[in-house]
């Protein structure tokens, strides 16, 4: 059970305004957010624009990192790069074993490059994916860039 978990309650209370809808009785919301199934959790900004979503039940130790990742993704899309870097790094450092951690590390690399315009910062961040998450799809995604760098 995710929502009754004290850490989840605490995290949501601190970081979000929570709202919930039954997909079966709210076709407007279903259409507005192009919903296919429930449960679906979506991170929205102050205007109701969606930035990150995930489907299905998740245990607290996966659920909270997903929410934090959503906040990071929102900051990145809004080009608040400093905030995005802090949030993506936070996902990796606080929840290193979560499924979303390697993707967060990928985006740390992207943000580092955007902040510095120095490709070596991106490469250094992506090397950590291969080091810590060698079996992840994100390690495969960066493998091309890293192999070019080694040539």
């Amino acid at each position: 059970m995710t929502y009754p978990h004290p850490a989840v309650i605490d995290y949501i209370k601190k970081h979000f305004i929570p709202v919930r809808y039954n997909i079966q009785t709210n076709p407007d919301i279903k259409n507005k957010y192009r919903l296919l199934w429930a449960p679906t959790v979506i991170v929205l900004d102050l205007n109701g624009t969606d930035y990150h979503r995930f489907n299905g039940f998740l245990p607290p130790d996966e659920f909270i990192p997903q929410l934090e990742f959503g906040i990071a993704k929102m900051a990145l899309e809004k080009q608040d790069l400093e905030a995005a870097r802090i949030q993506f790094t936070s996902v990796v450092e606080k929840y290193p074993k979560s499924d979303i951690a390697p993707e967060a590390q990928y985006w740390v690399g992207v943000v580092d490059f955007q902040l510095t315009n120095d490709v070596s910062t991106e490469i250094n961040a992506w090397k950590k994916i291969q080091e810590h998450y060698p079996g992840s799809i994100w390690a495969r995604k960066v493998s091309g860039a890293l192999s070019c760098e080694n040539e």
Partner: protein
């Protein structure tokens, strides 16, 4: 005399007061879900917090 009465009262009452506060801490707090998106957006704009939209179904 009065000092002793107060001291005894304090000694007797302290564990109960502590327990009362300890119990209060352990009361499970539930998530206060908004029921309407427009109200959630209004609150979000007031607080600066993003919105968590949870979509569920019954059955």
């Amino acid at each position: 005399m009065l000092k002793n009465i107060l001291l005894n009262f304090t000694l007797l009452a302290t564990p109960f007061i502590s327990l009362a506060f300890a119990d209060r801490k352990e009361i499970p707090v539930v998530i206060q879900w908004e029921k309407r998106l427009d109200e959630a957006i209004a609150k979000a704009k007031t607080t600066g917090k993003p919105i968590l939209l949870d979509i569920f179904m019954i059955g």
